[in-house]
């Protein structure tokens, strides 16, 4: 099929760059991660937004609505409604924080795709794994920083978890897994979007999910049809797990369901991104 002349590799290809892409996956991943982190440092606007949003929601729900909402929680003395509601809502706020970072992830991925730099990376034989991992790791780290800061605000306004060191460790692990899964979805959405504007809006869907689960009020206070959705959507077991770990509420099957959902979302986002990567990076 080819008439290519059999010649030794181009002299320029004989340098350090030609050891094959496989041997450079780790080094390239680190380079791409550094790039993502540099973006975050250089343009903190997007990161600040992902923290300010959840904090405003937290303050709003605790100080404006918290007294009434807390009094309605099962087994709560109406006098201590606000404090009880702060404890109840904080795991949901943490989930919203992570869900909100997907917008930033999708935006940066979409910028890369539309500006042609992803195409450049492809012509440079940089493994797809490195390019995607740079986005995923960088944005997971960003999500964890955001969630830590929001949790800090929660502690500052009186959130008092009962968690011991082991539970804190498990909470951190759970949050990291959720951030990882949500970031993969964000990457896929960023690739799917035809423009940066669409990319920043697509993941908004994710931020509504905790509201439609057990994040802000117990799911069994909702109408039947919504209860069904709340019971079977990923954020409910995730929030219940965080709540159980931080506040010693019963865990039940939630941790297993939460981990399962995270794996499903991460693998789904990965496969979705993988399919789109080559198709969408060429315009």
């Amino acid at each position: 099929m080819t008439t290519a002349i059999d010649r030794p590799a181009s002299p320029r290809g004989g340098g350090a760059g030609s050891n094959g892409p496989r041997s450079h996956v780790l080094a390239d991943t680190l380079t791409m991660l550094d790039r993502t982190m540099l973006h975050l440092v250089r343009y903190p606007g997007l990161s600040v937004f992902t923290i300010v949003g959840p904090v405003v929601i937290l303050l709003l729900f605790v100080f404006v609505l918290g007294g009434t909402l807390g009094a309605g929680l099962p087994g709560v003395d109406p006098a201590g409604g606000r404090a009880a509601y702060l404890a109840y809502v904080l795991p949901g706020i943490l989930a919203i924080t992570i869900a909100g970072t997907a917008g930033g992830t999708a935006t940066t991925v979409s910028m890369d795709m539309t500006q042609g730099i992803t195409a450049r990376f492809r012509t440079m034989a940089i493994a797809r794994a490195s390019v995607l991992a740079g986005h995923v790791l960088g944005n997971t780290i960003q999500a964890l920083i955001a969630v830590a800061l929001v949790l800090g605000v929660g502690l500052a306004i009186g959130f008092r978890p009962s968690a011991g060191p082991l539970e804190w460790l498990a909470t951190a692990g759970m949050l990291a897994l959720v951030a990882f899964a949500i970031t993969w979805l964000g990457v896929a959405m960023g690739m799917q979007a035809k423009s940066v504007e669409t990319a920043s809006n697509l993941p908004l869907v994710l931020t509504f999910l905790p509201l439609l689960g057990s994040g802000f009020v117990p799911a069994d206070s909702m109408p039947d049809w919504l209860q069904g959705f709340a019971a079977y959507q990923p954020f409910t077991p995730i929030i219940e797990t965080l709540r159980g770990l931080l506040l010693s509420t019963p865990l039940g099957w939630s941790p297993a369901l939460a981990v399962g959902w995270c794996l499903v979302l991460a693998v789904g986002g990965y496969v979705w991104s993988r399919i789109l990567y080559e198709r969408r990076s060429v315009r």
Binding site: M1, T2, T3, A4, I5, D6, R7, A9, S10, P11, R12, G13, G15, A16, G17, S18, N19, G20, P21, H24, A27, D28, T31, R35, L38, H39, R42, Y43, M111, D112, T114, Q115, G116, I117, A119, R120, F121, R122, T123, M124, A125, I126, S281, V282, R283
Partner: protein
């Protein structure tokens, strides 16, 4: 600059005069739309070939296949002897692409972009830094090196884009419409850079819609129209495809103009500006005849200019079918 850079010079010398780009029977369609139809193209090492064609001729698709971004449906493409489908890694090590859409990281500075490329080419920290400094100097970006790309003009971004392609000195460089949207000065600057690269032994394939660009830069021109190469050759050879040019005779007053028009019945009249245009068949025969007749009638000629066919004539003659 190249003299101070022995590594660059050394890589140029031993290259055999074989084809740097060898395209045979290349086909590509998207759905039912045939974008490239049996394209053959050979680019000798160290030369510039321009792929000239109107919008939608298939230039960018060809470039994407050459740079491994898109797989061909049929045919073979070899870059520096490596097949683009079977030996992708080797092709990617020897080719650099500067596309139509600037492939730069707009959130970083110019220097950071170049350092990123150096790292991804595994140059090592010190070598990457040295190379970045060298390229910033060469592309006149030193002053803007540490400022974010948001402040760069279109020409600066394009220069940075090309500089990023050159970080590892690829043997073959593909430029997809490198000067589209640039002001005339930036265009000239970019042309200068391309000429320097070729002088150093780099092989260049560039696509363009601009005939003067192809004429100014290319050793050979391939005219792509509707997915097919409709003509291929040196700029001069292509110009010879369109027979003859024309003489442009202008007269100072209407009586002289009218008399001349009767003497030269084949001329095209432009009464408003008193200009007659006479087609020539090439050679000086027509010129001699025209001047002899005017002399004999003692008609004063205000101005005479000779127009040889330019690439515009060739282009429009060859792509008549698709040009609207």
């Amino acid at each position: 600059m190249n003299a101070a850079n022995p590594a660059g010079a050394a890589t140029v010398a031993p290259r055999a005069p074989a084809a740097a780009i060898e395209v045979r029977g290349l086909r590509k369609s998207y759905g039912t739309r045939l974008v490239l139809d049996d394209v053959d193209l050979t680019v000798a090492a160290g030369t510039v070939t321009a792929l000239l064609g109107p919008n939608g001729a298939g230039k960018t698709t060809a470039v994407h296949i050459l740079s491994t971004l898109v797989r061909p449906d049929a045919g073979s493409v070899a870059i520096a002897g490596h097949d683009v489908v079977r030996d992708t890694a080797a092709v990617r090590a020897s080719i650099g692409l500067t596309g139509q859409f600037s492939a730069v990281d707009t959130l970083l500075t110019g220097e950071e972009n170049l350092l990123l490329m150096g790292r991804l080419r595994h140059l090592g920290r010190r070598a990457a830094k040295a190379r970045a400094a060298e390229l910033l100097e060469r592309f006149d970006l030193v002053d803007a090196a540490r400022t974010p790309l948001a402040t760069y003009s279109g020409g600066m971004q394009r220069r940075l884009d090309l500089a990023m392609t050159l970080v590892e000195r690829p043997a073959v460089i593909v430029l997809d419409e490198p000067t589209t949207g640039l002001d005339p000065r930036s265009r000239r600057t970019l042309w200068g850079i391309v000429r320097e690269l070729v002088a150093e032994g780099t092989t260049v394939l560039l696509t363009t819609q601009y005939l003067d660009e192809a004429d100014a830069l290319a050793d050979r021109i391939a005219v792509l129209d509707g997915g097919r190469i409709v003509a291929e050759g040196t700029p001069d050879a292509l110009k010879r495809l369109v027979p003859g040019g024309h003489l442009r005779l202008s007269f100072a007053d209407a009586p002289a103009y009218d008399s001349a028009a009767t003497l030269l019945p084949d001329a095209t009249r432009d009464d408003a500006s008193l200009v007659l245009t006479v087609a020539t068949a090439g050679g000086t025969g027509t010129l001699r005849t025209v001047l002899d007749r005017l002399d004999a009638a003692e008609l004063p000629l205000e101005d005479l200019s000779i127009h040889t066919p330019d690439l515009d004539d060739v282009f429009f003659a060859l792509t008549k079918g698709s040009a609207s």
